[in-house]
């Protein structure tokens, strides 16, 4: 019983790392551009299918093809940004959120239907030779690919953090978050900053999608649920904190798995698992709107 619970928590952390990774992407885009990209989950889905395709058609290992998933999403993100989102840059914050919300819904419908046409509605997953490998520790099972995914997510988040802290471009991004006018007056081209953060967010979604494809499964309709989870985690972690957001993802994963386990023991269904994220979201909004790790002061 205790072991089963611990096992559940481990699964929670493993999926939570992917929630975190996806949410970090959404949060980066929202923080810099104030675009609420509800097609984020579909970007993630596309990353999953890119990896699935490369594996099925050319037997490219999903971990080896991660750079390809990144590049596809960088390109896809840039196309959608230039075609649609770039027109929203000059609007005031409220209008921007509304308009990008609508654009995002449009984009997500397009991508969903495209995925249906290209890959049918079937649930897919990338099954490699090592997919079933598990190592045991203290009687708890650690699936190899999921642990590898967690490590990759961790490395990417740390890399992003270093990029934002240490590089000139990263600092320009943070400056734009704080005050785009002041940033412009430093000679920063905020259109480029917006584009950069948008495609970086898309790429993070792409990696998360590929990792979901190999550790779990993908389907054309998965996007909405991932957008919602990313949104929950973004609020949970607090805007502007990359590590906070990642930890927020793990907290959501843990909460879901713990609730799922308790509900199962009590004879309830697994549906509670989906609801708990939204409950958590509301609780945070009410009691700590700046997020668990965000700071009130600007």
């Amino acid at each position: 019983m205790l072991e089963a619970f611990a096992q559940n928590l481990v699964y929670g952390v493993l999926i939570g790392a992917l929630y975190g990774l996806a949410a970090v992407g959404l949060s980066l885009v929202f923080g810099v551009t104030k675009f609420l990209n509800v097609a984020h989950g579909e970007f993630l889905m596309v990353g999953g299918y890119a990896s699935f395709w490369l594996f099925t058609l050319w037997q490219v290992d999903p971990f080896v093809s991660l750079p390809a998933a990144i590049v596809s999403l960088l390109v896809l993100g840039a196309v959608f940004y230039q075609a649609l989102f770039s027109r929203m840059v000059k609007l005031t914050e409220g209008v921007k959120i509304q308009n990008t919300l609508l654009i995002g819904f449009g984009v997500s419908l397009i991508l969903q239907n495209l995925a249906l046409k290209l890959w049918t509605a079937d649930t897919r997953s990338i099954t490699t030779a090592y997919s079933g490998q598990v190592f045991n520790f203290l009687g708890i099972r650690f699936p190899l690919v999921r642990v590898a995914s967690l490590l990759i997510a961790l490395v990417l988040v740390i890399a992003l953090q270093l990029f934002l802290r240490r590089t000139y471009t990263g600092k320009a991004l943070r400056a734009t978050v704080e005050n785009w006018e002041a940033a412009t007056l430093m000679g920063i081209d905020i259109h480029r900053v917006y584009l950069l953060s948008f495609v970086m967010g898309a790429a993070l979604a792409g990696v998360a999608g590929a990792l979901v494809g190999v550790g779990y499964s993908i389907e054309p309709g998965m996007g909405m649920s991932w957008t919602l989870k990313s949104l929950v985690v973004m609020v949970l972690g607090g805007l502007g904190s990359i590590t906070g957001t990642f930890v927020g993802g793990i907290i959501l994963g843990l909460t879901e798995s713990a609730t799922g386990f308790i509900a199962l023991m009590a004879g309830g269904g697994l549906t509670y698992k989906e609801v708990v994220g939204l409950v958590l979201f509301l609780l945070v909004l009410v009691f700590r709107p700046e997020g668990l790790f965000g700071s009130k002061e600007g």
Partner: protein
Amino acid sequence: MLKLDTINAFYADLQALWGISFEVNAGELVALVGPNGAGKTTTLRIISGLLKPQSGTVTFDGKTLNTEPAHKIVELGLCQVLEGGKVFTGMSVLENLELGAFVPQARQVKNQTLKHVYEIFPRLAERKNQRAGTLSGGERQMLAIGRALMSKPKLLMLDEPSFGLAPILVDQMFQMINEINKQGTTVLLVEQNVRASIDIAHRAYVIENGRIVGHGSGEQLLSFESVRSAYLGDSHA
């Protein structure tokens, strides 16, 4: 160096500037003074490209700025310090200054300029690793000016740098601005503190309701009855 020619500017349907023309010559310290809502900030936004004029031209060193995007204008050597400074509060003082040197030509000489800025504002050197959000109002204003200097501007535009400062700091602030100008940076100073600005400025323009209504050297302006009564409190307050 800088020339505005019959600038008309709008915020949506509202006209904020009406045929504004003036000049700033190399090496000068020019003040632009006027009451609340006169259009001082709007004028600076037009020059720095944050707002585009509906008609009229802005030229800098012979180049027309009308179609230049704001971030390119900084590269040409024009830098505006926003009202209130608008430092990046989540970053350290040093990071703020580094961002000031974002444009390529400034980035190359970043370390030298930094030394120079620390000489003008020793306080910033003391606080370099502190988060800008923890600075006092006066220190933030110094940081904002220091950050602008990091871009090696030929023309520095300041928007009410003395606003909200303690009286003793106000004097210091004007001295520092004077010093920056003496060291070779041309300054366009927007102020409501007319007396102090006119004291250090070579020339001043008076703006009211979006129009330039007066112009002259400091002493000349001080003798204008309207300026005396409106800004220096000679007849009321």
